[in-house]
């Protein structure tokens, strides 16, 4: 028996033959995540328990085979892409909600639980799980932990790390351990916090204990159409400046909102340029007051239309338009490269106009989708991989946009992680020293660099002007 075969047989011994995939033609579906990056794995496994995960990790260590953890594969930085082969450990079968404690408002979940399922189940107790990535109907809580994901409502509630009490992880040695504490904020060194956002490079998360929140008494959702992006950006700044903290302020420019409307018929007016989706929640009386205040502020910016969701159904439709907008870009072209820069909110208008100038220069379409409330912009560069040279052009434009973000006091990633796609941009923001500190940290967890190799850290540490 050669190494491949004996390794394969041992994989089967651990998880069963139904859950090991080695056929090259089959494994093609595990080549990429939500991006257009590709890398062929050597083996794919779908373990059913933490013990199986641990055994797989020990086995892969013995054979020196790299491990790539995978959730639902919706990542937008190529994080789950096995760029240099290896063993994919996909946690999708571990998808049980193990316990919901309505008294303590916590839930214990397996890592493969789909984000949206948490709130669905918790709603039976009048509770919900706050971080709501737009991909929440598909992404896993394990993936959310690995990416420290955000979402529209994180403006008011904070991102994933603010809602995780404890995690069970399988370390690169195969050891199973818990970080954090079940019932309260951790004391001592916060390994939980360290692991969250480590993008699958520190180990595999197998269980998650999350905090749940009480559903608000009243929710109101606005869909507001503006004549131009500046008015929308200035309205956002004014609303937040007035002291109101909406639970979400989302923005879509003309290209994005047209695609979203086509897919949903949410009621975005034909002549609209930029759309804001604003949500407020709280006690009934407060909401009424805030509603009037927001209308007053918005009216100063000459809106085309202010729509209020008449009922839950319409609210869901507004959100469907927003949350499906990236996917809806497929109506324009088959690929998009999503830049995930974050800038101070006051710089939004300026940065957006720079983005549009750059898009013109490169001759590519850019659709802008923003978590406007916290300055997280998502310029989506739309292109067609089939057109020679387009991919390269899109990547270069992406690099230039990130540079603009960093020059204006921003960061490289608001929520999607660095992964494979953004790693060459790291030197734009971090000095060689910074990157070396991060590498040392990685070394503590994974000294053999066996977990998700080739991610986060740039190939060369000297400054890279252009992306590869």
């Amino acid at each position: 028996m050669n190494i491949n075969q004996s390794f394969k047989q041992k994989l089967i011994d651990i998880v069963g033959s139904d859950y090991v995939i080695v056929d090259k033609q089959d494994m093609i579906v595990y080549e990429s995540d939500g991006t257009h990056d590709k890398g062929m794995p050597d083996y794919v496994t779908l373990p059913g328990s933490v013990e199986e995960v641990s055994k797989l990790v020990i086995l892969a260590n013995d054979y020196g085979i790299p491990i790539i953890a995978r959730g639902s594969g919706t990542g937008l930085s190529g994080g789950a892409v096995p760029i240099s082969g290896g063993l994919i450990i996909s946690v999708n079968r571990m998808n049980k909600i193990l316990n919901i404690d309505p008294e303590k408002a916590t839930a214990v979940l397996e890592a493969g639980v789909i984000n949206l399922e948490i709130s669905k189940k918790a709603s039976e107790y009048g509770l919900f799980y706050a971080p709501d990535p737009s991909s929440q109907q598909a992404c896993s809580i394990g993936g959310n932990v690995a990416e420290n994901s955000g979402g529209p409502h994180c403006l008011a509630y904070g991102v994933t790390t603010n809602h995780i009490l404890a995690i069970e992880v399988v370390l690169p040695t195969g050891e199973i351990t818990w970080f954090g504490e079940m019932n309260k904020e951790s004391s001592g060194i916060d390994f939980r916090g360290l692991f969250i956002g480590s993008e699958g490079t520190f180990g595999i998360c197998t269980k998650v204990v999350v905090k749940l929140l009480k559903q608000p008494e009243e929710v109101q959702t606005f869909l507001i159409a503006f004549n131009n992006i500046n008015d929308a950006a200035n309205a956002t700044t004014s609303i937040i400046g007035s002291g109101i903290i909406p639970s979400a302020i989302e923005m879509m420019d003309r290209t994005a909102s047209k695609a979203a409307e086509e897919g949903t018929n949410a009621g975005i007016p034909e002549n609209s340029d930029t759309v804001l989706l604003i949500e407020i929640e709280g006690f009934k009386e407060d909401i009424k007051e805030q509603e009037l205040l927001i209308k007053d502020i918005v009216n100063e910016f000459d809106p085309i239309e202010i729509k209020l969701a008449a009922n839950t159904k319409e609210r869901d439709l507004f959100w469907k338009a927003r949350k499906g907008v990236l996917g809806a870009l497929g109506r324009i072209a088959p690929n998009y490269f999503l830049v995930d820069g974050t800038v101070p909110r006051t710089k939004l208008s300026f940065v957006l106009s720079e983005v549009n100038k750059l898009a013109k220069k490169y001759g590519l379409i850019v659709a802008n989708v923003l978590h406007a409330g916290d300055g997280n912009l998502h310029p989506c560069i739309i292109f067609d991989q089939q057109t020679p040279g387009d991919t390269q052009k899109a990547l270069s434009l992406g690099g230039d946009i990130l540079k603009v973000c960093v020059e204006n006091g921003g960061v490289l990633s608001g929520e999607h992680g660095i992964g494979y796609e953004k790693k060459e941009y790291m030197p734009l923001l971090f000095s060689e020293n910074d990157i070396n500190y991060m590498k040392e940290m990685k070394n503590i967890f994974d000294s053999k660099n066996n977990f998700n190799p080739g991610k986060i850290f740039p190939e060369m540490s000297d400054t890279i002007e252009q992306p590869k």
Binding site: Q25, S72, G324
Partner: protein, 429 residues
């Protein structure tokens, strides 16, 4: 032609997929397996890889496409608007082409498909099953423990023998007592008239009671969904043309359909023809005339049901009703009109039950996995009655209810409406 060339035909639609993964959790086969290969995105990726010659589809690849139930729940979940139905149909046609190079496969499939859609065969089967039901052979098999001796496959098939409700439905005119002169055609289809004759008669009673004259055409043929699901495009085309001609000739304003799968097929006949063909326009005319029974009842109800029914009722929608025809609220709203009913929502009711046309026969193992998940969810709500809107769902879920020894009843939404109207009528007289 190679399978690649068939998929190439729908290339533009394939490339609308941006790989976002939103469709994963809408897919019943993904939900029971956690496997990307058994998901819409996976199946589309395999198509894309075929177009780009990265793979040459083999029996393994075919298996992943075959496991698709064609419930099309991935379509409403997809923000990019990928018309998955078109993709899988083209792929299946290509697969059929490759497979029919094998003599045995070609003739077996042709014979089986032809049998499945021929009226005399369906009626003969219905008769045999009826006798089987009447003589309680199933219980006998269990009693003498024959089930322990029969091979597993035969046992599984035995369990799938449907319960026959009355004699087959005959074609002809079924006038109402009123002089409204509002006539509708009712489509019989292949499965329903033989197996669920009584249920169809209840639907006709309902329509008559509400003042509509009903005609069941003698010259209608199978809608073609069974042949198109299995990639036999010649047969599908032949059936479609016959139905288009016959239904358009009839003077009735509407063609009503009580089997959602047939409804989708007929409403999508235009997909089968080139835009320049005369049949393309005829197909669109027929589409305008075609309505699902629930869509029609909901929009044309002259008066409400009045008979009290004090039961807890839930509803499993037919995939082809919600995913392709987008008829979501009407059956539920009709149920809620019935006085006394306590309506409870079935969790994940938007997910398929695993029936999928001939899927329960061609993929028994996967069909079972999907059904088991559904039954677990149904048990959790403790309903007296599960209502459905399609014959395939009724047969599949009846099977599930029997297997898991639950005491709940299963029936069509129209059956329950019939009961309420009948009761109301009796109360009046």
């Amino acid at each position: 032609m190679t399978i690649k060339s068939y998929i190439d035909n729908v290339k533009d639609e394939v490339y609308k997929c941006v790989h976002c993964g939103f469709c994963l959790t809408a897919c019943p086969t993904y939900l029971v397996s956690g496997q990307e290969l058994e998901s819409p995105r996976g199946r589309i990726t395999l198509m894309k890889a075929t177009i780009e010659s990265e793979i040459i589809p083999d029996s393994n690849t075919f298996a992943h496409w075959d496991r698709c139930i064609q419930c099309r729940a991935c379509e409403p979940a997809c923000p990019s608007g990928v018309n998955y139905g078109l993709l899988i149909e083209a792929t299946k046609t290509g697969m059929n082409e490759v497979r029919s190079e094998s003599f045995i496969y070609r003739y077996n499939l042709k014979i089986i498909l032809n049998l499945l859609i021929s009226k005399w065969f369906v009626n003969l089967n219905a008769l045999i099953f009826r006798i089987y039901n009447k003589l309680k052979i199933s219980q006998l098999i269990n009693k003498v423990k024959l089930n322990k001796l029969l091979p597993k496959k035969i046992n599984e098939l035995e369990k799938m023998i449907p319960i026959i409700n009355g004699f087959p439905l005959k074609s002809g005119n079924y006038p109402s007592d009123t002089n409204n002169n509002f006539k509708v055609m009712l489509f019989r289809g292949c499965v329903m008239p033989g197996i669920h004759g009584d249920n169809m008669r209840k639907t006709i009673y309902l329509l008559n009671h509400l003042g509509f004259d009903v005609e069941v055409l003698d010259n209608e043929v199978c809608c073609g969904s069974i042949s198109s699901h299995n990639g036999d495009s010649d047969m599908t085309l032949k059936l479609a043309k016959t139905n288009i001609d016959n239904f358009l000739q009839n003077e009735s304003k509407y063609l009503l359909i009580s089997s959602a799968g047939c409804g989708t097929r007929i409403k999508e006949y235009n997909h089968l023809f080139n835009k320049n063909s005369s049949y393309y326009n005829k197909a669109l005319l027929l589409k305008e005339k075609t309505m699902d029974i629930y869509e029609f009842l909901y929009n044309n109800l002259p008066f409400k049901p009045e008979g009290n029914i004090n039961l807890t009722v839930s509803y499993q929608p037919a995939c082809h009703l919600i995913n392709t025809q987008k008829i979501i609220d009407p059956p539920v709203e009709l149920l809620k009109m019935i006085p006394g009913i306590k309506y409870v929502e079935l969790p994940s009711s938007n997910i398929c039950c695993g029936a999928g046309g001939a899927y329960s026969i061609t993929q028994p193992e996967w069909s079972k996995k999907v059904l088991n998940k559904k039954m677990t969810e149904f048990k959790s709500i403790n309903a007296d009655i599960l209502t459905v809107s399609n014959p395939g769902c009724l047969i599949q879920l009846q099977n599930g209810i029997q297997e898991s020894s639950i005491s709940s009843d299963i029936m069509y939404v129209t059956d329950l409406l019939y009961n309420s109207y009948l009761k109301g009528e009796k109360n009046e007289s």
